[in-house]
């Protein structure tokens, strides 16, 4: 088991003919992902070729789904067109949309989120590294990789990893792998102020997943999603959690790279988040180098 995706999940890529989308579609194929279709308006009928793989490209998401049975979509569409791409996938009835695109205007995401209410589609991101459920092959291949994370750092296992940022997630994943453990699923929920899936949403999924034994939750300054998740975990989470929060030294009022990483009006500080997480019984690491040890401490290994 895993959450959100597994080795059987059929994936399509919106924006597969772009440089960035194409490069990562290729890496996902190498990883063993069941990448079955691409979508680029106006390029239907072509093929996306990578090594021995030949992936058909369609004009619309609806066509791609009907022809290939894809149930998940990765979005690599440039920011001005990304909101529309997400909504196309939602309207076509995709189960899972993973929006990798960085730089989507907040107003666009606000409307997308409102329109998505009541739909069956779950959105991860935007501005996120995506999802990896490691496989059992060499270098964890044979699993499902949607997005831009490096596949080889993963290992099949029982630790659920959840984070807003990319490289910080890779650090945590790498440490878990180096310690000889592995991951059930790794989810990057993205660094934007408005996103589709929150820390709390993913925490609940890991809590219900029989394969996940322990959880790493990584957050950063801005908003109150980590506090919300900690409050829930305090009462309901059955599994040990290790945590880390980035941005303790960030000056207030400045956006630290991620659109959502900002302390404003005294809200969203690292201190408040760490406190809420510790209060919920999580073991919070002081630096990213300590995430692996925090996991072992929380897990009692």
């Amino acid at each position: 088991m895993s959450i959100l995706v597994n080795e059987d999940t059929k994936v399509l890529v919106q924006g597969i003919t772009g440089g960035f989308g194409g490069r990562h579609a290729g890496l996902s194929l190498d990883y063993g992902t069941a990448l079955v279709a691409g979508v680029t308006p106006g390029k239907g009928g072509q093929n996306f070729e990578h090594g021995d793989h030949k992936v058909p490209v369609y004009d619309t998401v609806a066509e791609a789904m009907a022809e290939t049975g894809a149930t998940a979509s990765a979005i690599f569409v440039p920011p001005p067109f990304a909101a529309d791409a997400i909504l196309e996938a939602v309207e076509a009835g995709v189960d899972l949309v993973v929006a990798i695109t960085e730089g989507i205007p907040v107003m666009d995401m606000m409307r997308v989120k409102e329109i998505m209410k009541g739909s069956k589609t779950r959105l991860i991101g935007p501005n996120c590294p995506g999802i990896v459920t490691p496989g059992t092959g060499p270098d964890s291949t044979g699993g499902c990789r949607i997005g831009i994370a490096p596949g080889y750092i993963h290992k099949k296992g029982t630790v659920g990893v959840l984070s807003r940022s990319g490289t910080l997630t890779y650090e945590a994943v790498w440490q878990v792998t180096q310690l000889g453990y592995g991951q059930s699923t790794c989810v990057g929920i993205g660094g934007d102020p408005i996103n589709g899936t929150s820390h709390l949403d993913v925490l609940k999924l890991f809590n219900d997943d029989p394969e996940t034994e322990a959880i790493i939750m990584i957050g950063e300054i801005g908003g109150s999603a980590e506090e919300e998740a900690a409050e829930w975990a305090k009462e309901f989470c059955k599994k040990p959690i290790a945590g880390f929060i980035a941005g303790a030294t960030a000056p207030p009022g400045r956006r630290m790279g991620h659109a959502g990483a900002i302390v404003s009006g005294g809200k969203g500080t690292a201190e408040a988040k760490k406190e809420a997480m510790a209060d919920a019984g999580m073991v919070v690491a002081e630096t990213p180098s300590g995430i692996g040890q925090a996991l072992l401490d929380a897990w009692g290994k």
Binding site: M110, R111, K113, I148, W174, G247, G257
Partner: protein, 392 residues
């Protein structure tokens, strides 16, 4: 991105949010002429810099105060002459101060009451919220702390927009009556239209004043724009005043780097925003002070790394450099080659600690070793931070 007060007034004029009559001047003569046109009993002249605390600031030529009220147009002209071309130091500018190039001359209106009015993007609900209070002219966070019942909030549906009943609710809540109630309703509708049309993440009017004649005017405003949406508002982007920005940040923007200047002495160069923040934290945790936030991004080129390295090295406050790279997809050797190329050009003047991990790390480490440069290697981030702090 910040904008000047006179630019805020231009936006208010465009969206019919009333504000006192006034205009920007670049010379004392222009200021005098504007004051003569306003021709009011009381007028105000304000230095235009991107910093708060102007009223209590001091110019380096000894002239006191970046905001002055006066009754005569001639005084406006002479005061403007003492401000323009001079450097204003306020509690927010730091010792170096800010050069004043422009002033704003405006009518100083009679005030019956000061209100607070803002439209913000609320993260928790993913929708805009209007915040209003009868306690204008003060720090709104203090009001929220001491008398939370005096803060009114109305959430706006993202697709339906501001509704008439919501406007009425705020009018009643603020106790507005007669012509002022009507005027406030118009201000609110136009302010929300401005917020939504220009992709703002904040427009705050403090104070919003009611005059004895029942007029409602925006006296001072703060704007926040969504940087990701500026591409569809070129007229707003044109308001950017790079003279007001940190020159290190301007240089970084040219290389498409995400950089924020800080006051410490240990510079860092990192890939990924989360890891870059965590690197700053690790420096602090080891007893040092970070000089900057710098994210070279997930797909940095050798030229970008070189550019980043040069910006760091030219900062006089910096005494040591920490490079922290987790190469997921990114090739560690590209980073290593960028660093070596930059150092070959400028020379290595400062202690340099490098922590490389991930994709092609062996080649990256080899490139650094083969360069013969005095680079201190590190096992992980905590180790790197300790070594960088020890090197200062």
């Amino acid at each position: 991105m910040n904008i000047h007060e006179y630019q805020a007034k231009e936006l208010f004029d465009r969206f019919e949010v009333p504000s006192p009559r006034g205009q920007m001047a670049e010379t004392a003569e222009e200021a005098l002429k504007i004051a003569q046109e306003i021709n009011s009993d009381l007028m105000v002249v304000k230095a235009q810099v991107h910093a708060g605390g102007r009223g209590k600031g001091t110019f380096k030529n000894g002239f006191e105060g970046g905001v002055h009220l006066t009754k005569s147009a001639e005084d406006i002209g002479s005061i403007a002459g003492k401000m323009i071309g001079q450097t204003l130091v306020t509690k927010q500018t730091g010792e170096e101060g800010k050069l004043v190039r422009k002033v704003m001359v405006a009518d100083a209106v009679d005030i019956k009451h000061e209100y607070y009015l803002a439209v913000l993007m609320d993260r928790e609900t993913s929708r805009p919220v209007i915040v209003a209070s009868t306690e204008g002219g003060m720090d709104i966070e203090e009001v929220a702390e001491s008398s939370p019942e005096k803060i009114l909030r109305v959430f706006i549906h993202p697709l339906a927009g501001l509704q008439a009943h919501q406007v009425r609710k705020l009018i009643v809540g603020l106790g507005l009556k007669g012509p002022a109630a009507k005027a406030f309703g118009k201000v609110l509708k136009n302010l929300y239209r401005l917020f939504a049309s220009l992709d703002c993440d904040m427009v705050e009017i403090n104070p919003l004043v009611e005059t004895p004649d029942g007029e409602v005017l925006a006296l001072d405003a703060k704007f926040g724009f969504d940087d990701n949406a500026l591409y569809r508002h070129p007229e707003v982007e044109a308001y950017r005043d790079i003279e007001e920005e940190d020159p290190r940040e301007v240089a970084a923007a040219e290389f498409d780097l995400s950089y924020i200047g800080l006051d410490g002495n240990i510079a860092c160069l990192v890939n990924g925003a989360g890891l870059a923040m965590a690197t700053m934290d690790a420096i602090k945790f080891s007893g040092g002070d970070p000089a900057n936030f710098l994210d070279v991004g997930g797909g940095a080129t050798e030229a970008q790394v070189k550019g980043a390295f040069n910006i760091i090295q030219s900062d006089p406050k910096v005494e040591a450099i920490l490079i922290n790279i987790f190469g997921g997809i990114m090739d560690c050797n590209v980073i290593a080659q960028g660093v070596v190329a930059a150092v070959k050009e400028t020379g290595l003047k400062l202690p340099l600690v490098v922590r490389l991990e991930g994709n092609n790390v062996a080649a990256g480490r080899e490139t650094l070793t083969a360069s013969g440069l005095a680079i201190t290697g590190a096992d992980d981030l905590a180790d790197a931070a300790k070594k960088a702090v020890a090197a200062v």
